[in-house]
Structures are given as C-alpha cells and as structure tokens.
C-alpha cells in the first residue's frame, strides 16, 4: 500500500492536471477519450477524475466490462445448467446477479441451486475433485486477463483425471470491438486508454493496427489515479500534435510483446471463435472457445440443457452504453426501474459496470 500511495500523491496529481490544462489550452475543439477497461471506469469514478479534467476533455466508457458484454442468452444458459440436477455452478461473484431473460443465478441459488462464488478457477477444480458425483461448471467469462488462468484450470483438471469439471465459455478478446468503435461514424473516439491487465498479456503491440489503420492514438494506462492522469496527458499530447501511435504509460507492468508464456497456455487450450457482444453483435474471431482436444471440458456440449428463448429487457440501454453512445443518466431506467438491488441490465450489476459506477460514485 505504501507503494500504491505514491501513485495517489496529491501534489503530483496537481502538477499533472496543470500539464494537461496547458497541453489542451490552445487546442481548438474538444477531445473524447474512451477507457476500454471496466477497472479504469471504476477508477475514474472512484477517484473523481472527471471532476478534475479540463472541460475540453471528455472521458467515455467502452466495452471493457466482461460481465456487461456477456449476452443475455449466456446467462439463460447458466441458469438452465444451475437447474440441472447434480450440477454445481462455480463463478466469479459478479455473474450471479446478472439478470437473464426470466431469472438470475442468485435467484436460482435462493431457490435451491448449488451456486458457488470462487476466487480462482482452480477453486472450481478443487470443488470438482471434492464432489466426484456432481458436475462442476465454471463460468468462463472474461478477456485475455482471465482466460490464461481458466486455461490453466482445464489443464489441471485433465492432469488430475477429472471428468466432472466443465467450462461454459464466453471469453472475449478486446482489440476487435475497439477497431469497430474506432470506425463508428456516430462515435468520435479521439484516443483510447488501453486496458492495463489485458495488455500485460497481449502486449501493447496488439493495438498497433488501431493506431496505424484507424488513426486512433492509444496509450496503455495503469489503474492508479496518477497513471490515469498521465495516460490522459499522453493522449492529449498526441491529439494536439496530430499523431496516432501506441504508447505505454504502464511500463512498470506492460511490455510491447506482452506475456508470451500466458498466451502459450491460453492458446494451447482455447482457439479464436466468433463471439456475440451485448450491444455490438457478433464480431468474427473475437471469442475464445475450447480447442477440439479439450472438448471433454465444454459444458455447452457435454451437459445439454433446454435454454429459454432470450428476451432483452425493454428500455434497457446497456447495449448503447457499452458502445459509449449513451451515458447511464440518459437511460430511462437508470435509478428508477434499474438499481443495483434490482438490476435490469448487466451494466448495473458488475463491479466494473458503467451504470454501477455512476450509481455508486456519480455526484
């Protein structure tokens, strides 16, 4: 924490804010930067960063919350599996409260389903070893950050000879939607604050096509407030200079080439597949599915269940919010029909969701 406090130093923050103000002072027009990572979204709200930036700089939130971008039919599938006799659902916490078409995992849990919150996929493997008579399904949601550990859990389950451990895959990779949003004529993105943890795996080089082909400045940025202010300053300097390149602010963790070892584990178990994103639709090659040699661990094929017809909730603006086109307060359901206690959309549920952040921290 002493180390962390150095990245929250008020004097340094003041100095960075002055430099940002100086950088944009003579620039005509405004600039819109999108933070792609849900943890960035929470950090921006948690530290009150918007309230400190010049009016010319607007921060918008993108599709970087893994729970939020998971479509409703996946939740329905998880609910159907939870109802399957002899099945244990193991998941990171946020997923349990995301509403499906007619139910959620927390409701199924209250009605008697065995839903366990775990802190690591390996905890789910341990559950499978402890309950050989039950099928343990881990909900494989997340970006390149979590996918390697989930791949590791599959390898571990195989090593232990477990035939009752399964993954319901909805992993996604982040550069695809960034490219789509960069070209969206209804959305002016002048720069990306690129995700920190994901970039530690995929490396800053993964954003080169964005800068080169889509002309969007990109800065890989850490989560501490001083990181974020410096990331904003680096983006602003690029915009003022008319440049579009990839820079690494978070150099103490992220390298240009990322983490090849983690990627090796990831791609040993998973392979790219088409994936549907809430609000964006299907993006070819933007998902991760189990390779054929690991098909025995695929909950979707090994544990067949009847999944209800997906039904999106009327009036929910999650899809547009994930694209940065609508802010939470522009959603007619925000704070009325949709609250963290009774969420209508995923963005209100996740601890990385934009609506949850606005509800919790918005002044």
């Amino acid at each position: 924490m002493t180390y962390t406090r150095e990245f929250r130093n008020p004097d340094v923050a003041k100095h960075l804010l002055e430099r940002i103000a100086d950088t944009v002072r003579d620039h005509a027009g405004s600039m819109t930067f999108m933070e792609v990572c849900g943890t960035h979204t929470m950090a921006i709200y948690q530290h009150g960063i918007r309230s400190l930036l010049p009016e010319k700089i607007r921060l918008i939130s993108g599709p970087g919350c893994p729970v939020c971008v998971t479509p409703v039919d996946y939740v329905d599938h998880a609910v159907a599996l939870a109802r399957r006799p002899g099945t244990v659902i193991a998941t990171f916490g946020d997923m349990v409260r995301v509403p499906g078409s007619t139910s959620s995992l927390v409701n199924e849990q209250a009605a008697g389903a065995d839903v366990r919150i775990v802190y690591s996929p390996l905890d789910a493997v341990a559950l499978a070893a402890k309950h050989p008579d039950r099928s343990v399904v881990f909900l494989g949601v997340g970006f390149e950050t979590t996918a390697p550990t989930i791949a590791g859990s599959v390898i571990e389950a195989q090593r232990r000879g477990l035939d009752n451990y399964f993954v319901l895959c909805a992993h996604k990779t982040i550069p695809g939607p960034m490219a789509i949003l960069a070209d969206d004529p209804g959305l002016q993105v002048d720069g990306y604050l690129c995700p920190a943890h994901v970039s530690a795996i995929i490396g800053a080089e993964a954003y080169e096509p964005l800068a080169r082909d889509h002309k969007v400045p990109s800065v890989v940025t850490g989560f501490e407030p001083l990181d974020m202010l410096q990331g904003v300053e680096m983006l602003a300097r690029q915009v003022v200079a008319g440049e579009a390149k990839v820079e690494i602010q978070y150099s103490r963790v992220v390298k240009a080439g990322g983490n090849p070892k983690a990627r090796e584990v990831l791609y040993r178990v998973f392979e790219p597949c088409d994936a549907r994103w809430r609000g964006i639709g299907v993006i070819p090659g933007s998902g991760l599915g189990l390779r054929p040699e690991y098909a025995a661990f695929d909950a979707a094929t090994r544990l067949p269940v009847e999944v209800e017809e997906p039904r999106e909730h009327q009036g929910c603006a999650c899809g547009e919010i994930l694209k940065g086109k609508v802010t939470p307060r522009q959603c007619p359901l925000f704070r009325t029909a949709c609250t963290p206690e009774n969420p209508v959309g995923a963005c209100m549920v996740s601890s990385e969701g934009t609506c949850a952040a606005e509800y919790k921290y918005g002044t």
Binding site: M1, T2, T4, R8, N9, P10, A13, K14, Y45, Q46, H47, G48, I49, R50, S51, L52, R97, P99, S103, S104, V106, N107, Q109, A110, A111, Y119, P225, L226, L229, T339, P340, E341, N342, P343, V344, S351, A356, Y359, K360, Y361, G362, T363
Partner: protein, 337 residues
Amino acid sequence: MKSDIILLGHGSGGKLSHQLLDEIIIPALSGVARRDQNDAAVLTHGGGRLAFTTDSYVVDPIFFPGGNIGDLAVNGTINDLAMSGARPLAISVGLILEEGLPLADLRTILSSMKEAAETAGVAIVTGDTKVVPRGKADKIFINTSGIGVFDHEFDIRGSGARLGDKILINGTIGDHGMAVLASREGLDLQSDIRTDSASLHHLVVAILAAGGSAVHALRDPTRGGVATTLKEIALQSEIDITLDESSLPVSDAVGGACAILGLDPLYVANEGKLLAVVAPEAAEGVLAAMRHRPEGKGTAIIGEVTGASSGKVFMRTAIGGLRAIEMLSGEQLPRIC
C-alpha cells in the same frame, strides 16, 4: 428483477436489508419511522431511561483471527447499547446449536463469551439453548439481547447530526471483515489481519465526558461498513456528509487485501469501531479524549457535515476529486457478523 423470496443480500446490512426492514418487517411489527431507528430502543420508565437491544450472530467461520462468534456476540450487543449513550447492565444469550457441533468448540465459545463479558463489566443474566438437526443451522447461531441505563441526560441518536459537525472514527477500518473473509476463504494474504472486535462502552463514556451535549450521534459501522453507516446517519439527520479520503485510516494490510480482491474498505465490516458525530467546537477535545483510551488510540477526524438537507455522502478523494458514496448494494462479504 425484484425477488419474491429472501436473498442473502437481504442480510448484508446494505440497501436490500433496509428495503426488507422498511417495506416488510417494520410496517408489520412496529411502524417506527426511519429517523427513529437506532442501534438500541430507548424506553422510559418511572422517570428514568432504559436502552434495550437485540442482535443475532451467524458468522462463518465461527473461529477467525483474533476472536470467535462468542466474544463477537457479547461485544456487538454491548456496543449497540453504548451507541445510544447507555451504560450496559446485562445481556441474555440464546444459543441455537447444530447437531454434531463438537463440545470442545462450544466450551471455547462460551469461555470467550464469559471473558468478554467480564472484561466489559457486564453480566450475562439469562439465556436459552436449542439444538436443531444437522443441516438445519450452521454449527452455532447466537442471539444476544442487552439492557442498559443512562447516567446522563444527553440525547444521542442517528438523526442528531447537524451542519458543521465533525465525523470521528477510533481507528483503522475493515479489519474484522477482512479477517473473517481471509479465514473463510483460506486466503494467504501474507499479513496478519485480525478482527477489531472489542467493547466500546468505556470509550463512549470518555467521549461523553469530553463532549457532553456536543456529541450528536454515535454508531458502530458493522455490516455495510463506514459508507453504509454514514449514509444512514445522513438520511436520518437529513444532512450531507463529506469525507476526506486522505484522513481515512486503513491499514496497509487491509488496504492491500481489498485492492487484490476488488473490495472497498469503506464497505467492509468492523466490530470494534465507532463513528462519532460531534459539534465542531468540541471535536478536538473529543479527539484527544478518545486517543487517551486504548481502543481509541487511532482516532481521526475523517470528514464533516457539509450540507443541510439531502442525505448525501461524498468523498473528497486523495487527488482532490469528488465522488458520491452510496449504501452497500447487495452483498459484499456474506455473514461476517
């Protein structure tokens, strides 16, 4: 999606708990208004005032670093009495035991209860024991009720905060919740996080001696943490509070563990902390008096009442930004007190 059944979140101490109380339980039983809901009821009899409270303990695990469910139950009920400004006199103990509980565990828990009561100078005067079949409870549940008297005329209540008041806390936050979570989940945090469970009535005596009628509200931030408790006070008193993040005491161990787990220490439970809302002219005197007590050594002024009417809580962040603070939504850490 509103639920028509009880969810674990209804027991979180946060918003769902308040909804359950406001919409179901209180209308059915008593109808007491929100602004009059305090940690203990104040009864008048024969010209004197009595404080009366009850609480149930269902913590998992029942043993954790620095304490167990037994001393937690005794301290918790003493503190509920103390937060109304009362001097605790006596408590009752209701035990619900699950078939299969080792007698050695029960003896250890009872011994801790006795020691906690003796340390606090409070008598355990009555009780009840029930045993339920295996699976119908989780090892042991404890209900404690307490009764206290007032040695003064001061009126301490959640609706008592006023514009300009200072907010004080007697040390680091989140220790209890993180100790229980680390213990339950078997997390190897490589740091010694222990519960802060302690009785606080002697500290309250010191606060009242130093501040007198300038002490407007006291509350212990248990489930839901400091954030939820301050939001309750803001709503009850119809005022706004602004906290200063750089003044908020958080140990490096708890801060680091929260950062790893994605938790906000403001919402993590405490069992040996109190929030005191004190008129500004008395704040320094109360601060000094609290720091003289062993359980108040770490006291800090963490914020003040900055608005008159809307029931909002804000945080001035370390880098100078401003954000809102809401009640805990759903469940951050289940069953921690």
